[in-house]
């Protein structure tokens, strides 16, 4: 398990560290592609957060309230 965790962390570090630099506005066209946007469907986020918080002991992350108002089942 520890080796898998370290390997994943190394992959993340490589992805992030590959060419970290200042980016001009005209260079960010690719980041505006719909498949690159982090803000996905609001109704999807709402539903999946409820599922995870209802069926898992942990809550919190990516815009959730992390407590209260959930109506978890």
């Amino acid at each position: 398990m520890k080796s898998v965790v370290l390997m994943v962390a190394a992959v993340v570090a490589l992805l992030g560290a590959s060419g970290c630099r200042s980016v001009a506005i005209y260079e960010k066209v690719r980041l505006q592609d719909p498949q690159m946007k982090f803000e996905e469907s609001g109704t999807e986020s709402h539903f999946y957060q409820k599922v995870y918080y209802s069926r898992e002991g942990s809550v919190g992350a990516f815009g959730s309230s992390a407590g209260g108002g959930c109506g978890c089942y």
Partner: protein, 385 residues
Amino acid sequence: MLLNTYRTMGLICLLMLSIAAGGTPALEGDAGHGSVEFGLSFYNNSDGGTDGNPFLDEASTIIEPALIFNYNVSDRTMAWAKLAFDYVSSASIDRLSKFEEQSGASGDYYASIEGGIRRQSDKQNAWGLFGHISTEYDYNSLGLGGDYTRTAADGNSSVKFALNGFFDQLDLIRFNGIQEGTDNRISLTGQINLYQVINPVTHMEYGGVLTLQSGFLESPFNAVVIEDTLMPNPNLVGNAPGREITEELEDSLVRGAVFGRIRRAVSRRDALELGSRVYADSWGLTGISFEPRWYRWLIDNRLRSRLRYRFYTQTAADAFSEHFTTEETYRTQDSDMGAFSAHSFGGMLTLHSGEFSEYDFSFDYILRDDGIDQMLGRFGYRRTF
């Protein structure tokens, strides 16, 4: 060994947090423009008898329609509203025939209305406010919150601070139908979200969240079975021997999580993402998740797909046990607070219909090692105007 693993991941996530800050995008669109989004979601989990809590049938089905409106009242101000309703048909329907009153354990609904505004003060500063009201058969909730976003002058990074509070009132309808009045719960959450452009094809978001809760934090309808008798109990799965008493948990909880995800366009049609979250709370429960995703344009500007896998594992809360032979001060048999691991596999197709409409179709299956496997499906429609 598991704790050492969590510590390692926690350190790695803290390292990610130390990298330069990011945030959320600015308002988009002119006054009079906006969007409407409708989603219809389906959830189902079965229970094979001794899966999860061995004394309780935890099968449930949920259907959720939801509606979100966004409207630019000016070039700098957007108003939004979200409406959601859950129809819940859950465990122990047969308990209704035994007890006069039952709460969320045997059938329930949830309805919520949420609304707010977002204001872009200038190119680098934005703020938002929201209010929330929700109600269930045995539960009412009122929430308020706000956030502030600061964007760097070059637009390559931003940081968002958010704070919200919820006041919940619960009707204490117990597992045996007995009503014990009402009680309250307060939740306060602070969150920081950072966004960073790494290079022309890579960006990331990450952050941390901290929640403080106090009040009645148990689930009123949950029971704990004390196995100090040989008498079969007809209310338990398989008429198992034991007597039921109420679930009892501490009246305060501190919970925290750090999270992050990074997405990179690897070709003209493909993008890859890796996300992770590490969670811990004062009740002794820790959790970690990893979620790689693959995005692909199947037909340029028309049809795209998303495949994802999610691994989640958690340790049990200190008060959790599958079996009790004595009445502990703090006690729960809620399987969602026990130790388990889950593997999720899912896919989504998004169809772009013209310039202003999108349709989503998604399906996920979650395999849990305690037997509570889950199935999720969703249809979504989004139109901008």
